[in-house]
């Protein structure tokens, strides 16, 4: 298990290999469909993502009596919807970690290679574990514009467990598994 602490350095991220288990600690921000579209349309970003992490997540967050927030459920959402935006987001912001589920396309893989970033797979459906890893909700942006599920939440996480699914060396576990499983299927059922 490799521990990653915010701010995430380029050298630490480039040292990771697809298949490595990592524990993410410190500040991360959520951003999904509307957030990425806002960015692509030239919208202003509320925070500096350099050496940071973006998490594809629509959490269930409840307000607290003291004016703060608490995350009750927060698993990853499917990342492929952001394929068209992510390469540009990585190149322009200098973000180091993209966290979600299901993986992303070759263009994002190429951007990870060019800029020194990785794609991390959080475990789909593991809502309770993710909520538990969020120690504090430290801020929220676009809450009124995008709604709670699509807002940009700033979390302080501890020991948020993920697997490096796409590294900065042009290796994607998803592509590898998909190719190999198709080959094995063809062998089993005798066709392509």
């Amino acid at each position: 298990m490799t521990t990653l602490n915010y701010p995430f350095s380029e050298s630490a991220v480039r040292a990771l290999h697809a298949g490595d288990a990592v524990s993410v600690n410190g500040r991360i921000w959520t951003g999904r469909d509307r957030f990425h579209k806002h960015f692509a349309d030239g919208g202003r970003l509320p925070v500096d993502f350099r050496d940071g992490a973006i998490f594809h997540c629509g959490p269930v967050v409840v307000p607290q009596a003291d004016g703060g927030w608490r995350v009750v459920a927060g698993g990853p959402t499917t990342s492929l919807r952001e394929n068209q935006y992510e390469p540009d987001f990585i190149a322009k912001t200098g973000v180091r970690l993209v966290i979600g589920k299901g993986g992303m396309d070759e263009r994002t893989l190429a951007a990870c290679h060019a800029c020194g970033a990785v794609y991390l797979q959080a475990v789909g459906g593991a809502a309770a574990v993710t909520a538990h890893a969020v120690k504090r909700v430290t801020n929220v942006y676009f809450l009124e514009d995008f709604g709670a599920a699509e807002a940009c939440w700033e979390f302080d996480v501890r020991d948020f467990r993920c697997v490096v699914a796409m590294d900065s060396r042009n290796v994607s576990l998803f592509a590898r598994v998909q190719d190999e499983s198709r080959r094995r299927l063809a062998a089993l059922i005798g066709c392509r």
């Binding site: 927060g74 698993g75 299901g102 475990v123 459906g125 998803f174 598994v177």
Partner: protein
């Protein structure tokens, strides 16, 4: 009854059945130390424990709720009573606001409207003579369900059990990890299109460790499960030995012109429960 059903919904959402948890523990043993498959299954088991302890949803997608109610309970467990229980469970935060109007896109905040939740009244004996069964199935897994019409020339799948095997294995390969593997397959051979999906989903109510009383189907179930696990897709599609936890196959009669094979994919968060009354 409303209170009792609401508590039953909460338990279904927050507590995975023992057989599903057991199958995940067996998966953990198979996956080598240090592999990403192992990390994923460890996280899943930790999540199962945490959700049960806190009484919070195992998964944030609390899914489509389908109830199967014994015919004998029709007057006691009415659609109205079930609707009120769902409304209460939603208001308590045990269920996500998870129902949208398909035309306007607006959220139906109570999770109750014509068509939701889904309620079937069924004739059954044994443990189900006086029971309510509930399945909560998330959208990510539902998106991976498939229906085939045999013969299928692309798969070289004919109208026999060998054709069924090819179709089901191809569905597993198409799903990769997107349905949140390791999953459970409910399969229906035959039926019309709607009946096929209904029976395939109903197969998901079976205990993962049970044995199909039909020896031919029992053999097919274990063969497909073994072969699917040899594809190497693994937990969440990151590679590994565990792609499926079980395969359950049922049948419906078909007309001579049709031969459907329907595959219902259920994620590892196999939330199902029985309430005996």
């Amino acid at each position: 009854m409303v209170e009792r059903l609401a508590a039953f919904i909460r338990e279904t959402s927050s507590s995975l059945p023992d057989d599903a948890e057991h199958a995940l523990r067996m998966a953990l043993r198979r996956e080598p130390k240090g592999s990403s498959a192992r990390v994923v299954v460890e996280t899943i088991l930790e999540n199962v424990k945490l959700a049960r302890t806190n009484g919070t949803p195992v998964c944030q997608d609390t899914g489509t709720l389908t109830f199967w109610v014994s015919e004998r309970l029709r007057k006691l467990v009415t659609p109205d009573v079930i609707g009120k229980a769902v409304e209460k469970a939603t208001a308590q935060g045990w269920l996500r606001r998870n129902t949208n109007d398909p035309v306007t896109g607006r959220s139906i905040d109570t999770n109750v409207c014509p068509g939701a939740p889904v309620v079937h009244y069924v004739t059954a004996g044994g443990d189900d003579a006086r029971s309510v069964r509930l399945l909560m199935k998330g959208g990510g897994s539902e998106n991976m369900s498939r229906q085939f019409s045999l013969p299928d020339s692309a798969l070289a799948a004919g109208r026999d059990l060998e054709g069924v095997r090819k179709a089901v294995l191809s569905a597993v390969c198409q799903a990769q990890g997107y349905g949140c593997a390791p999953g459970v397959l409910g399969v229906c051979i035959g039926g019309d299109r709607a009946g096929g999906y209904e029976e395939a989903k109903r197969q998901l109510l079976r205990n993962l460790a049970d044995r199909n009383p039909d020896p031919v189907l029992a053999r097919l179930e274990s063969r497909i499960c073994r072969e699917a696990n040899s594809l190497g897709i693994g937990p969440m599609g990151l590679g590994g030995k565990t792609t499926l936890l079980a395969v359950k196959i049922g049948t419906r009669p078909r007309v001579p012109a049709s031969f459907f094979v329907t595959v219902a994919y259920l994620c590892w968060a196999a939330r199902r429960r029985r309430l005996s009354l």
